[in-house]
């Protein structure tokens, strides 16, 4: 077995074992932390499809994360206020059912990614980075200045949404849900990379001119990947909002984009389990460094700088070697 495969199995089992052990020892806080790792990893898996497979350096994925979060709030807030979601042109009530919310979040994220991607992919390179960043910030300012859903203060959803057959208020059951979604997303990402579409995407990343000569439009392939990526990150946003039972514009802030990207890189770009390793490391650093200094992000910055300058390939690249060469 390849070292990376072994490492992946260790990561998958480790992320399952830690909260189970914590549950047995009566430490619900650690279960919640593990849930956060799983959800952030899911956002990272989404970004990794654009970044790792498609070579699209998107600094605006907070937009999709926030779209997912706000979709949850828009659907669930009317229920807790005992109001219909809309009355015109037809009456529709909100919902507290997670599967419906997840589907709606993914559709909303996909539509957002379609609009942003269609414009941003007209350019490439450094333009693409700046434009995704700018569109992300546009949604942030829109959320701040739109008073219907709390404006700058955000909006609280007091009771966590439900999933058929589970008690989502129980931390370990909610963790199981997030973990299941993460594993499904990893499976999708794995199959995508090996499919004909994944190969076309790799071709579009490595040599757009040659792809075009082979009859594959790089623009369409990349846009499709960007849409899938946005939908997955939006799903993570809906789960994250449910974890916190709170949505605010800070989910849309560009720093969230930066952090999702950082955890993908910490783990290793284009590695299947890179986001999982990165999210775990990020949350560990946050709690370990945050424990002895209020200014823990200073040390995070220094660590990140060191990794970018000297340890390329991220955690998985360092541990498993660079046997998978990505151009």
């Amino acid at each position: 077995m390849r070292r990376e495969t072994v490492l992946n199995i260790v990561l998958a089992l480790g992320l399952l074992a830690v909260p189970l052990a914590a549950q047995a020892m009566g430490e619900p806080f650690i279960v919640t932390l593990a849930t956060k790792v799983a959800i952030l990893a899911l956002a990272g898996v989404g970004l990794n499809i654009a970044l790792g497979l498609g070579g699209m350096v998107s600094l605006g994925h907070a937009a999709f994360f926030g779209i997912g979060g706000y979709t949850m709030a828009v659907l669930a807030a009317p229920v807790q206020a005992y109001e219909p979601l809309m009355t015109w042109p037809f009456e529709l009530s909100g919902t507290k059912s997670m599967p419906v919310i997840w589907l709606a979040a993914m559709v909303a994220g996909a539509l957002g990614a379609l609009a942003i991607g269609a414009l941003s992919l007209r350019t490439s390179g450094v333009y693409f980075i700046m434009i995704t960043l700018a569109f992300g910030q546009m949604l942030y300012y829109f959320a701040i200045s739109w008073p219907a859903y709390g404006g700058e203060d955000g909006i609280s959803i007091y009771v966590r949404n439900g999933f058929p057959g589970l008690n989502t208020l129980d931390p370990i059951q909610f963790f199981a849900l997030a973990y299941g979604v993460l594993m499904a997303a990893l499976m999708v990402s794995w199959m995508l990379a090996r499919s004909g579409f994944g190969l076309a995407l790799a071709g579009a990343r490595q040599n757009p001119a040659r792809s075009a000569a082979l009859g594959i439009r790089p623009y369409s392939v990349k846009l499709t990947a960007f849409v899938i990526s946005g939908a997955m990150t939006a799903l993570a946003g809906a789960l994250f909002a449910d974890l916190n039972r709170f949505v605010s514009p800070s989910m849309l802030n560009w720093q969230t984009s930066g952090e999702i990207m950082v955890l993908v890189i910490l783990g290793g770009v284009a590695r299947l389990f890179g986001p999982v390793a990165g999210a775990a490391l990020f949350i560990l650093l946050e709690h370990w460094l945050g424990g002895f200094s209020e200014y823990w992000k200073l040390f995070l910055g220094l660590a990140l700088l060191g990794i970018v300058l000297f340890a390329r390939g991220g955690l998985i690249g360092t541990l498993a070697g660079r046997e998978v060469a990505h151009d």
């Binding site: 700046m130 200045s145 560009w254 990207m261 950082v262 220094l302 970018v308």
Partner: protein
Amino acid sequence: MSLMLLIEQALNGLQYGVMLFLMAAGLTLVFGVMGLINLAHGSLYMIGAFACAAVAAATGNFWLGLAASLAAAAAAGALMELTVIRRLYARDHLDQVLATFALILVFSEGTRWVFGSFPLYLDIPRALAGPVRLPGGIDYPLYRLVLIGVGLSVAAGLFWLIGRTRLGIRIRAGEADREMIGALGVDISRLYTIVFALGAALAGLAGALVGALQSVQVGMGEPVLILAFVVIVIGGIGSIKGALVGAILVGMTDTLGRFLLPIAFSTFMERSQAMSVGAALASMLIYILMALVLVVRPGGLFGRA
């Protein structure tokens, strides 16, 4: 009355635009010459503002603070270039984004450590306080008028520097072909440090000047940085002329949009609703402008592509 208000808002937009230009000019120079995307440019803006506020508070003299902001930002920029940035020229944009994102964390938290989380306040120098009466009977704050003047003179100076001096020739040559000017005996790494420090000083100047209008706080640089990106995308990467036109366009669109859209909506909507819809739309206006430019000219108004 309403025309005078409109002129006042247009001047505010111009003032906002020229300050954005100071930010965008450094970014676009660094990108044009070194091919580097620098997210930490906003930190240099913040450093300029903090240096000015700290020195002005200690000495009671705004002008000493302004000099300190230029020196501090240029020094921080040169240090940044020598220790981190020069390792990134040969890397791809992803590494550049990450390393400069890490620099933002370091600078922001470092500043919070030194100065605390509370904002500092920087007073407008007494000689420039108060309004001035413009032809047509408009009272306009003198300080903002001076900012417009400073911004436009810096723009003129920059055009002169790039177009007419030996350093400018080297910068333009560096944009065109870095190996060739190296072969001609120009010390490229020194040239890069100088360009980076120059861009940093402009950002620091903008931070100090705007710091007297707003509060000086950690994280003040990033919103401006993102607007400067919008400016560069509109103007075309690497073009100083594009940065100037883009900056004034963005400044005007944003300021006039916030002023006019609520008024426009209130002609057919209830007043409070028109205010919120207008404000929400106005906050998106410059990004819509950027999207339009991208559809028509993906390389920006003055881009080479």
